[in-house]
Assembly symmetry: C2
Homo-oligomer: 395 residues x 2
């Protein structure tokens, strides 16, 4: 247990270093042309962009320093050294390091979409090999009500690896599309990380003890560096985190889910991101027109955010378009303004949905409301994971 104490000390140090380093490096980023203008503010100040690379690097360095401590017992008796667990940690860090590189390259170079989908897949390759070698369990346990048809478990073989590869792609992009207002990307990641850590602590007494220790080894320094980032990214943001941060976070969660065998539980903690993704599908897949940016509209006069909207010309609508807009309107899922020529709907993100339901509000309040929703979803996730799971699975 003394390794956990050292992990906590290292993580506190990582928090302090990240917190000190971010203001010091700000000018370097602006000088390099890595900055953006906050579209939801009336001043036109240059805000440094891609600062997620700082917290990401400190997170990696902390994990490197922790390696000899994590395997301290193994190092004493070298014959018994757990090479397989060591390879797991290395594969995890390798995948995260790759995403840090890709994310930073994306922020600097503004890469095309195909690279964004291709590279997380490649970056998860060491992870999949380590999974194959160490576990190769590709069996899904079937929920009790379905067992009369499907049997008690089903081996999906190769498909399981496709599922894990897609999990990495999903996690890295899901955080990236629930973003755009100060503190939201980092805030949601902090809550997801906390949820995973609570889950690990609950499960530490179980027979999956080692897997949850592994998860803690990764999540604790991640949480520490991310909290330091949040301090500077919270409304009003002094730094932007960039794709770098979203990619690193998504891969970190995917890595922990895959190697600690609770990827379904991790997905439960991603409930708001899943809802946001599903709600975004009509626009992401261009069934409904999608502008370049979908972040809310800033009303400078009142200093409030309003939902942003997209105009659809009626003449250009197909039957599918019309039916979809009609169904969504009836279900009160979108806010529609119609005239003889066109239909205007809100851009379909969870952020705009919150604004059409609760009315215009300040940016800080909006972030806080969305994060409260994330917390509520974590509670629901624990309800599903614990009391309800016993109806569906033998526990």
């Amino acid at each position: 247990m003394w390794s956990i104490v050292i992990l906590l000390i290292l993580s506190i140090l990582a928090y302090v270093v990240t917190d000190e380093l971010i203001p010091k490096l700000k000018d370097l980023f602006i000088k390099a042309g890595l900055y953006g203008i906050d579209l939801c503010k009336s001043n036109n100040k240059k805000i440094p962009e891609a600062i997620g690379v700082v917290s990401g690097c400190i997170f990696l360095v902390t994990s490197f320093i922790f390696i000899p401590i994590a395997f301290g017992n193994g190092l004493m008796e070298r014959e018994l050294f757990p090479h397989n667990e060591f390879a797991e940690l290395l594969a995890a860090l390798l995948s995260i390091c790759c995403m840090l590189l890709l994310g930073f390259a994306d922020d600097v170079l503004d890469l095309k979409w195909r690279y964004k989908l291709l590279l997380p897949t490649v970056a998860s390759l060491p992870l999949l090999v380590v999974y194959y070698v160490n576990f190769n369990s590709t069996t899904f346990v079937i929920p009790i009500p379905l067992r009369q048809w499907l049997g008690s478990s089903i081996n999906i073989g190769l498909l399981y690896y496709v599922y894990m590869g897609m999990l990495a792609v999903f996690c890295t992009n899901a955080i990236n599309i629930l973003a755009g207002i100060n503190g939201l990307e980092v805030g949601q990641s902090v809550i997801i990380a906390l949820s995973i850590i609570i889950f690990d602590i609950i499960e530490l007494r179980g027979d999956q003890f080692k897997a949850h220790m592994f998860s803690l080894y990764i999540m604790t320094p991640y949480l520490a560096t991310t909290l330091a980032l949040l301090k500077h990214n919270w409304y009003p943001s002094k730094v932007f985190v960039g794709d770098t941060f979203c990619y690193v976070s998504g891969m970190t969660f995917a890595v922990v889910g895959i190697l600690s065998h609770f990827s379904k539980t991790v997905l439960l903690f991603f409930l708001p991101q899943v809802i946001n993704f599903l709600y975004s599908v009509p626009q992401l897949f261009r069934i409904i027109p999608c502008p370049r940016h979908r972040l809310p509209k800033y009303n400078a006069e009142m200093d409030l955010l309003e939902p942003s909207r997209t105009l659809i010309v009626k003449k250009e609508m197909t039957i599918i378009n019309k039916a979809l807009v009609q169904v969504l309107t009836i279900l009160h899922l979108i806010d529609t303004i119609e005239d003889s020529e066109s239909i205007t709907i809100n851009n379909m993100t969870l952020i705009n949905f919150t604004l059409i339901k609760l009315g215009p509000m300040s940016e800080g309040t909006l972030t806080a409301k969305l994060l409260i929703f994330q917390c509520v979803c974590t509670l629901i996730a624990f309800l599903i994971r614990y009391p309800m799971a016993s109806y569906f699975y033998d526990t």
Copy 2:
């Protein structure tokens, strides 16, 4: 042996992809502000900088794809899977990936020197842990003539890890300081890589078979992607490679030297870099004044390169300065021009040394001459390693 065939096919593919990708991505780099002006040309064209990140990424991706093939036999019989060798490859790729990230961040942000020395040390940490776990041999064999005083071998313990950490720092910086003219960084790396590959092939029949296979697994895709880079970086350069390339190359050579146990042989292949480093010491450690850039001076009229010079004011010279300049002049190691007030000497790099000895020449010729010198040094290295080693060691 079929794994070597697949490695060759993958490496050829990597060459083709890198070669295709570089011209396509050039504009992206210039748009992001990552470009430089070639100081040894009369046109002022923008040349994209840090293109080493492209070849580095393809090198890493190729290595990832090769993992399942390298461990193909192990994957069939999972009980016998060589977890320790797998961890070695992962640690190697992790260290290289870290240097790729650091190098790119350095090119974009222009980091301070202390980060440049700190981060390679941290990046080599996974490497050192894997070395400790898998080998932990910290013994130097003593050359025969010295054995009467020191015994047949000496165990330097912890110092061996300091040596390996410093090897990573040395390799990453040694290539970086023998640079500045078109194609030199990449050219020397190609020759070093080829030397290591030849050494591996010679040793494949020996009892260190596995270590040299490991080295080949890493060096072959490295050489392929670097050759593609050289094609675009050769005089007159259409792209610059940046610190990214020097860092990745240095770490790749250090990784192979450490994990395949021939770090001394790798250092032999670094002979020109060692000479350049030793020759640079007076300026690097500011014993003699050092300007920001020491690359040769371009004579636009004649389209030739001339040695660049540094002026030392006589009044500001200490006794050490004077003695050092005098000794170096007597040894014909520097070219001195003296007047009553000051002494002007050539900047102390191997590049300027070549120019004072052989006279002004065109950039292409200069690069070619320095690369021929690198080849001659490789021959000397093989002479030291093979016929002469038997005088010093039992073989």
